[in-house]
């Protein structure tokens, strides 16, 4: 059993009671809600005659269903409009702060909470969305929950949960030029498997992790869930504090100093005990691309799609399913695979540094003929920053569409979707069958810079070649 880790400390601090069924009641410091998973929870609350216990620890935004071309109300999709109207009235009735469209802070829930300084070290954070793990980048214990747990958190600011084990993933070395946080996390998932993290919280540590910016750390923690880990976190340090200082909801003045002292005290002890430890080397990682239908089915840009005989027995049947669905042949290179759609955005890679990295590749270039490429900033604030740096112009000039913020084609609950068997180069996090809105649509996950490179050449491309040209 783990001890002395940040996870243990934060868990112990938030444990309220032991419940009859044997699980723990865990206090939730910050509850984030959005339009898709909250309506039934509010309805259930009403059924039970209960109120929201801590409206001021609950924050809402709208992201999944918003259109990215025309956000005027009412939305053209009546179902989407109804979902937003429901969220608005629930927030109004329960005194919950909602960052709606045009507020300056609307955006993907996992982009805006850090941006606002709501996400802080040492908190427990829950949201009815599996990518809540993103917030662990700050040294918070953050995990996605189901609708009945959303109801429970609304009603009691707590939920019933069993403690997770802790695995430390220690990453030595440094990422090479043209290799990004996305490549690192795809590599980790490839190494440990999509079910490898089940029952675990992942602590990401080591020099390669410490060298990452906060936005890169968020990309890493975001995809913990794709590796099966309900949450992932990074011990807070100066990089964390620097990011937080001055943000809207960050502590100020005297309490800032008290805060940083407390945050430091939460870090995993030098002699902390982990349930498991894994060692990796960042310097060995190349730009990574998925070829299949799970985020674990990825290879380096220089590799060939694996043949069944070089896979573990247990991975073979899903690989067969992957070849068939993707229409890709084992033993052939992924490089050069033509793409139809290029999507830059999502809670994994829709932040300003992601857009900067992609713009660097797109600058002065043209999107390949026949390719539809679009950029969806993760939030209104990201959009604003990008415009201030004229990234929108760079993208537009290169032939990308510049859209309004939202989840967009990450899961295609809005009008942005693949059609038929189209294949996308996507900076999002899931390449499941049908994920991007067409039941036969295909997704290749990669870093935003790699997506930009694919947009320019019209095929899966090693971004390092374009980077060298850009220099």
């Amino acid at each position: 059993m783990s001890s002395g880790t940040l996870f243990d400390k934060v868990w112990d601090l938030h444990q309220v009671a032991k419940l009859p069924g044997g699980s723990s009641q865990l206090f939730i410091g910050l509850h984030l809600i959005h339009e898709v998973t909250s309506p039934q929870a509010f309805a259930a609350l009403k059924d039970k005659g209960l109120n929201v216990f801590c409206p001021d620890r609950t924050v809402a935004t709208v992201d999944h269903i918003v259109p990215t071309t025309n956000q005027n109300r009412p939305f053209s999709d009546p179902l989407a409009e109804e979902m937003l109207v429901t969220l608005e009235s629930n927030c109004l009735n329960h005194d919950i702060k909602l960052y709606g469209i045009g507020s300056g802070h609307q955006g993907i829930v996992h982009v805006i909470a850090p941006e606002l300084g709501l996400t802080q070290p040492g908190m427990t954070i829950a949201c009815g969305d599996s990518h809540t793990s993103t917030h662990g980048a700050f040294g918070a214990i953050a995990f996605g929950v189901g609708t009945s747990q959303v109801r429970d958190v609304l009603a009691s600011q707590s939920l019933a949960m069993n403690k997770l084990k802790v695995r430390r993933i220690f990453v030595e070395g440094n990422l090479n030029e043209g290799v990004y946080a996305k490549d690192l996390i795809l590599h980790i998932i490839r190494e440990l498997g999509v079910k490898g993290g089940v029952g675990y919280a992942y602590e990401f540590a080591g020099p390669a992790i410490q060298a990452l910016s906060m936005e890169e750390r968020m990309t890493i923690c975001n995809m913990s869930i794709e590796g099966g880990a309900r949450c992932g976190y990074i011990n807070p340090d100066e990089v964390t504090f620097e990011y937080l200082q001055g943000r809207l909801c960050a502590p100020i003045e005297d309490s800032w100093n008290r805060a940083t002292n407390w945050w430091r005290s939460l870090c995993s002890e030098e002699n902390a005990i982990f349930d498991d430890e894994v060692l990796l080397n960042a310097a060995k990682i190349a730009p990574t691309v998925t070829w299949g239908i799970t985020p674990g089915q990825s290879i380096s840009i220089d590799e060939n799609i694996p043949t069944p005989d070089c896979l573990e027995q247990s991975d073979r049947s899903i690989a067969e399913e992957g070849y068939k669905y993707m229409g890709l042949r084992p033993g052939t290179p992924i490089k050069g695979t033509p793409v139809d759609v290029c999507f830059i955005g999502s809670c994994t890679n829709g932040r300003i540094s992601d857009l900067q990295a992609a713009a660097k590749i797109a600058k002065g270039q043209n999107v390949a003929r026949g390719v539809k490429a679009f950029v969806v900033p993760g939030s209104e604030q990201v959009a604003q920053e990008a415009k201030a740096e004229r990234l929108d112009e760079i993208f537009r000039e290169a032939g990308f569409e510049w859209r309004d913020p939202g989840c967009s084609m990450c899961l295609a609950m809005n009008p942005d979707r693949l059609e038929g068997r189209q294949i996308s180069a996507s900076s999002s996090n899931r390449n499941f069958k049908g994920r991007q809105g067409s039941s036969s649509g295909r997704t290749l996950l990669m870093s935003p810079a790699m997506v930009a490179a694919a947009a320019i050449t019209g095929e899966v491309t090693d971004v390092r070649i374009l980077l060298n040209k850009a220099l």
């Binding site: 009671a17 039934q40 216990f53 009945s148």
Partner: protein, 206 residues
């Protein structure tokens, strides 16, 4: 369809009602409530949508459409009922149609837990007993039954059949402690204590 007031509440010891048979193994949550009904803002209409595709296919002949089953509240199923996704919409849909208890050969684990969270007991019987039960019900579908959780039996005026429950679940149902929300909200003193003591909720003074 039942009104909200009759949804399970408190101690669950006896459930009275007619039985309805839904035959077949491995009935998954996609069949119970097809995915397209997940894009909704409340669980309210799920009662009408339960088994939507299966019912459409059978055009009025599905057990959930047959007149004789109207108002039945004890669902009899076979093996591995409720397998598939973890969607809570599945037990919600059954509950909103009027189901208050399910008896079958076996249940998918997540589905079992989701039912428990709604106060719907899932009891198991051997294949042989289920078959016997199905015969009795088919012969007299209008008959009232009593599910007795204290005795762990299902009874009508002349038959009594034993069934099994997971001890923890049974205890939670009988004592009325199956409702996680209730458990969590009943610790409000301790929750208030957390609100007072957590550093980040108190300008980091603690």
């Amino acid at each position: 369809m039942d009104s909200n007031s009759s949804f399970p509440k408190g101690k669950i010891q006896n459930i009275r009602g007619r039985c309805l048979i839904l035959s077949g193994d491995d009935i998954d949550t996609d069949r119970i409530i097809p995915a397209r009904f997940l894009k909704c803002v409340s669980f309210e209409n799920l009662g009408e949508q339960v088994f939507a595709d299966d019912r459409k296919e059978l055009n009025g002949d599905h057990p959930f459409d047959q007149k004789i089953n109207k108002g039945a509240s004890i669902l009899i199923v076979n093996q591995n009922f409720g397998c598939g996704s973890s969607r809570e919409h599945a037990p919600q849909a059954l509950m909103r149609w009027g189901i208050r208890a399910i008896i079958g050969q076996s249940f998918a684990e997540i589905f079992y837990g989701n039912c428990l969270a709604l106060g719907i007991p899932c009891g198991t019987m051997s294949e042989h007993k289920i078959a016997t039960l199905e015969t009795i019900i088919s012969e007299n579908p209008m008959e009232e039954w009593k599910l007795d959780l204290n005795q762990e039996t299902l009874n009508n005026h002349k038959t009594s059949l034993g069934l099994n429950y997971q001890p923890g679940a049974l205890e939670m149902l009988r004592t009325g402690r199956w409702d996680a929300t209730y458990q969590l909200t009943s610790n409000s003193d301790k929750l208030t204590q957390k609100l007072k003591n957590l550093p980040y909720l108190n300008q980091f003074n603690n």
